[in-house]
């Protein structure tokens, strides 16, 4: 019997009643970004935490200015500054337990440093002596990731694996507003929700993907809204309010750890510097917009609350600055030394056991370098 013949006999039955799998209402983000600083909630916030956040913010800002200076001196190939976004970075690092994992993107040097990565190692990728170069297991920080959003499925997989092993480990993955357009972002969110993986996605919405403003990136009411379609809660938070970011991420992490599944958090912030030192932001945004955001500086916001509550005085501010200055001086000094490089390292770590072809190429380079050495010696030229 063909399908056509079958059709005559076919009597449609009414479909079973349709029901949404999940009530979307509790998943929807708040209408305005959640704030702590400047609200009544600020009075309740843990003083110890606020002081810690403050110290890390001041260090983070100083790190950004120091790294930017290093690009001007040619010590770094490029540096994507996170000035203006320090609250997101610091909160992301401080909200995690030691056993948790951080999956940063290329702008998240501060998060990695605040989590304990050596400030010099955090710049390896950008300095160009090695790609990444650190052992991710040591501090549970995945390599700073350049191809956008590609680290997000890794975070989901790791979190899922941890849960399968019975460990209450949470993965926190960072991505920019532009990165949310990539297929990997959507696939990661979907896997996370379907598997109920203990993962938290933090979107740092800093307004731009290089030159492209958010309005050209998405037509969604907010990036946090995207969560609902995958079946996970979306939260919207003021990304310049360190206490608020810490609280919202903290709740998301606790939720994930308790088996509640993933959360998408959108932190609304602003990129105060150009995309990198190679970018000319005058081409795509007005100074007045940047200036308007300067009034909402994450450090000033927290400083204000702390001083108002009597938790910070001039001496405290001075101490934080001195601590940041010491970190910067150390960074400067260590970055101003040429890294010890061995060209033969090119062949290291391509495989566990090098292929015969690679061994041939290794021998070729060794011979070339030896020949160059002899040449220099015979010419007496400085090497």
């Amino acid at each position: 019997m063909t399908v056509m013949e079958q059709r005559g006999a076919y009597r449609p039955t009414p479909p079973p009643a349709w029901q949404p799998r999940t009530d979307p209402a509790p998943l929807l983000p708040d209408e305005v970004p959640y704030r702590v600083l400047g609200t009544d909630a600020a009075a309740e916030a843990d003083p110890e935490l606020l002081r810690r956040l403050y110290g890390e913010l001041v260090r983070g800002r100083r790190y950004n200015t120091q790294a930017t200076a290093l690009t001007k001196q040619g010590r770094l190939a490029v540096y994507p500054s996170s000035t203006g976004q320090e609250a997101c970075q610091v909160a992301a690092a401080l909200v995690l337990e030691e056993r948790d994992w951080l999956f940063p993107s290329y702008r998240d040097t501060l998060a990695a440093v605040a989590r304990g990565l050596d400030p010099v190692q955090a710049l390896g990728l950008l300095r160009g002596d090695w790609h990444s170069g650190y052992d991710p297991r040591e501090r549970r920080i995945a390599p700073l990731c350049t191809p956008l959003a590609t680290q997000l499925p890794h975070a989901v997989g790791l979190a899922h694996a941890a849960r399968l092993q019975g460990d209450d480990v949470v993965a926190l993955a960072l991505v920019g507003d532009g990165g949310t357009s990539e297929g990997d972002f959507h696939e990661a969110l979907n896997f996370a929700a379907v598997w109920q993986a203990p993962v938290v996605f933090l979107v740092q919405n800093n307004g731009f993907a290089i030159s492209v403003p958010l309005a050209k990136q998405t037509a969604a009411p907010s990036l946090a809204h995207k969560a609902v379609g995958y079946g996970m809660p979306g939260r919207l938070v003021d990304g310049n309010d360190a206490a608020a970011v810490h609280q919202v991420l903290g709740e998301a992490v606790a939720h994930a750890r308790a088996g509640g599944g993933p959360t998408l958090v959108e932190a609304v912030t602003y990129r105060m510097e150009a995309h990198t030192n190679a970018d000319d932001d005058k081409r795509y945004r007005a100074d007045s917009e940047v200036e308007a955001w300067r009034a909402h500086d994450p450090i000033a916001l927290l400083e204000h609350t702390l001083t108002e509550r009597g938790l910070l005085d001039e001496a405290g501010i001075q101490a934080a600055r001195e601590d940041a200055e010491a970190m910067a001086a150390d960074l400067r000094e260590r970055m101003n030394q040429d890294p010890a490089l061995d060209p033969m390292d090119l062949f290291g770590h391509v495989y566990d056991q090098p292929t015969t072809q690679l061994l041939e190429q290794e021998a070729q380079l060794r011979a070339e370098l030896a020949a160059q050495e002899r040449h220099h010696e015979s010419e007496g030229a400085p090497r």
């Binding site: 190939a77 990997d184 993907a209 290089i210 030159s211 081409r283 190429q361 380079l365």
Partner: protein
Amino acid sequence: MTTVAVKPATMAQALGRALRDAMAADPAVHVMGEDVGTLGGVFRVTDGLAKEFGEDRCTDTPLAEAGILGTAVGMAMYGLRPVVEMQFDAFAYPAFEQLISHVSRMRNRTRGAMPLPITIRVPYGGGIGGVEHHSDSSEAYYMATPGLHVVTPATVADAYGLLRAAIASDDPVVFLEPKRLYWSKDSWNPEEPPAVEPIGRAVVRRSGRSATLITYGPSLPVCLEAVEAAQAEGWNLEVVDLRSLVPFDDETVTTSVRRTGRAVVVHESGTFGGPGGEIAARVTERCFHYLEAPVLRVAGFDIPYPPPMLERHHLPGVDRILDAVARLQWEAEN
């Protein structure tokens, strides 16, 4: 007769001019990609196009390479001629699914009913001190995919001519832009843009007798430098610039190698499974009885593209080319 001042133009400017002229000549030509509009592209190749032709024809897309190329497929199906920009070599990889599963085979699977005239511009290669994922040479992947043309200019004039030809092609063209040559300059008469030739022809850039250097894109200037250096050794090298990897100009290459009897293929991408293997095999098949020595390859090592501080040891340079040429002599005499 008025004489027009001949001005120097960079390769990036020539590419921009080709886009502009193609858009002016044909309203079906649309440029799209990340940051191509307001910013004019991170290499400024698309500078001014959005202003001149409007944002509908030079479009800042959302940040999604698969989406960029996938929507270009639909646009081409509806009669447009999209020119898409992939911001850097390694960031084209998310678009490979579209490229390999659809772009390259739409003509074939529709028995010729639906060709896709899409140009995919990909800045490629190293030598600019780029951080990880900003220096890959991916030409072998593209070459291995039937249905795609693969083109790469090495001169300012070719950048213009080949890009015009690519946009005019009714087949998809992967247009590889050697990013370290973006700022290379050549004299240029703005009134009279360089000639547009059909893609698929190689060109002899230097004639010589001792051996043929077969190269393309970023390695051409290195080979020309090697020619000068080789003269001191008494070698008289010929240089063939392929310009197009698919289709491959067997004729120009074969004619040259039959005359010189020796050949070295020079490129930046990896040796094993790289373009040089295919080229050496073709040359050997066609020139076996003319060859005085095996065809050699001077190419990148078979490693992930190294960090900037080590890239000079990886990139094939003049010395490595001269060593290979010396080996050809040795092979011939022993």
